[in-house]
């Protein structure tokens, strides 16, 4: 019985340790984000107070009111940035998904020479650091007049997202048994019909999550956007965040409010697809 007791006590201790570590880890993950959200409801004076004000004296919507106000806080046209971000992200995602679906299907269903080489080649285009790519892109776009336009950034984001979209969608189509499409073809469908009627619906959840992944990438991208946009008409929100900084000061209150505006759509979308997202990434990767 002594032996049993010893093991029981050890199991208890481990459980407590597990709980404590987990709690600390989760706290570290949450605190910086929650701090941003909390600060968006506080006046800048209080955020910057010295000595610090730990327990907020007043919470209000001033930052948000200013942000959406006619003039915009400090003249930052937040709504315009939001619209720009939305147009650019949605359009580029839609196109990337179409292209990615074609490419992913090709990788999942056809055998051809140099397949893995082409695959890695496509992936490597994603590995090019944004800054390094932005230099020549800047030159090309300046020449073609695409700089500072929605179209320019949309094209860039499509290219940025296609490799990953292919990876994800390839994984999802591979999970759809090939017999399904073959059965549909025997039942009289053309290959095209078989795809849209049978294979696509099965992989739809996966395609959706690939789309959301692409959307998030465009929504959050900064390195390229910061160089390829100049004016209010094409600046996206990540770039817009910098409008709150001036030479020596930062308007934290205004910035945190914009940050919250950026996070909310991302938050909702990610939660919608988290399960499929993980499945797609790992399946595509593990089953080679």
């Amino acid at each position: 019985m002594n032996e049993n007791l010893q093991h029981r006590i050890r199991a208890r201790l481990l459980k407590v340790l597990h709980f404590v570590t987990l709690f600390i880890a989760m706290a570290i993950i949450c605190v910086p984000g929650l701090w941003v959200v909390l600060n968006s409801f506080r006046p800048t004076v209080e955020i910057m107070a010295k000595p610090p004000v730990w327990i907020p004296n007043e919470l209000n919507l001033d930052n948000y009111r200013a942000m959406f106000g006619a003039a915009g806080e400090g003249g930052v046209p937040v709504l315009q940035y939001f619209t720009n971000s939305l147009i650019i992200s949605v359009t580029s995602t839609a196109i990337a998904i179409l292209i990615g679906m074609a490419g992913g299907y090709a990788f999942a269903r056809y055998r051809f020479k140099g397949k893995s080489g082409i695959f890695i080649g496509l992936m490597l285009t994603r590995a090019v650091p944004g800054v390094s790519l932005s230099l020549p892109l800047f030159i090309v776009m300046a020449k073609t007049g695409l700089i500072d336009t929605h179209l320019g950034l949309i094209l860039v984001y499509v290219a940025l997202n296609v490799p990953f979209t292919i990876w994800l969608i390839d994984g999802f189509f591979r999970q759809v048994p090939i017999d399904l499409a073959e059965a549909a073809e025997i039942d009289g469908c053309t290959r095209w019909q078989a795809f849209w009627r049978v294979e696509f619906p099965v992989a739809r959840a996966g395609v959706a999550s690939a789309g959301i992944f692409a959307f998030l990438t465009s929504w959050n991208e900064y390195a390229l956007a910061s160089q390829l946009t100049r004016s209010t008409f094409s600046k996206t929100m990540p770039v817009g965040l910098r409008d709150f900084t001036s030479e020596f000061t930062i308007n934290w209150g205004g910035m945190t409010a914009l940050a919250v505006l950026m996070i909310i759509p991302a938050l909702i979308l990610t939660f919608l697809v988290q399960k499929h997202l993980i499945a797609g990434l790992t399946f595509g990767g593990v089953k080679g």
């Binding site: 019985m1 032996e3 049993n4 007791l5 093991h7 199991a11």
Partner: protein
Amino acid sequence: MAQVHLRNVVKKYGAVQVVHGIDLEIQDNEFVVLVGPSGCGKSTTLRMIAGLEAISEGEVSIGDRVVNDLPPRHRNISMVFQNYALYPHMTVRENLGFSLKIAKRPQAEIDKAVDEAAQILSLADYMDRKPGALSGGQRQRVAMGRAIVRHPEVFLFDEPLSNLDAKLRTQMRTEIKKLHQKVKSTIVYVTHDQVEAMTLADRIVIMRDGHIEQVGTPLDVFETPANTFVATFIGSPPMNLLPGTVSGDRLALTDGPVVPLPPQFAGNVAEGQEIILGLRADNLMPVGHTMPMEGAYAEFDMTVNLSEPLGTETLLFGSLAGREVQAKMLSPRPVKDGERLRFQLDLTRCHLFDAKTQQSLR
């Protein structure tokens, strides 16, 4: 010395109780088979013995140690899993030697034990393959080899043969039996297959819904089933069960013939009692196809709906008292569907159960 004792062992998953207080004493070197329909709690019970599942209530001891809170590695057991559970990234040799390597035994000793196990299970030709490159039967043998390498006090088997095809299953069954004779140790073996249970066990434990229904030697449970569940579960084809009522020294089968009350039950029933007559196909044969019957027997007519010739015997499906009944015909002749035959039933070898409790009236 490794007896295994279970005292009032209970398993609960949250509010759901799946094992309801099991008491069982397994002797040293005994081969005990837990059998029952799937979902009845056999694996759960076995896994509580192994330490893979926490014990909610009660006590499990191995040898003379209570092991309730001990992790599997302190229980000196080994286990063969239904899906073999081989380590896919290790060769057969590494799989076999893994437990000894973990125990930090000297390499020479590991090699010796592994070769010995490979010898017993004729695995020598596959030692450097990975499990992925083995057939089902070979994987099965590796799984068993891995268990015997450790020389544990207790072997636990969880449906080890259920993934093999019929022929291989019969073959491996024999090998397991031989293995037990060779490496004397206590074995607890789980299966849902009553044939496996009957052929392997020293003692059978029949379980249903988390309860033990009967414990006994294979012959015991076949000859004297404790209730209708055991009666139908053990033996093939399953025992025929016919409801009826006691009337004097006779049994009136519901909507069927009246037969004499089997003499061995005479003192155990009351007038008007609702009973169930249990009758194996072997004891119900067309007249002229039976061994000569001594003692009590009854005769009646029955229409044969279907016959299944099996060679040395033919199974006959008739209906009696509104129920399908299976009978047997030795020294077969062709039987036409719908043919009416006279049958003879051996009352000395039949069973009687109380209709309410379903328990044997013996």
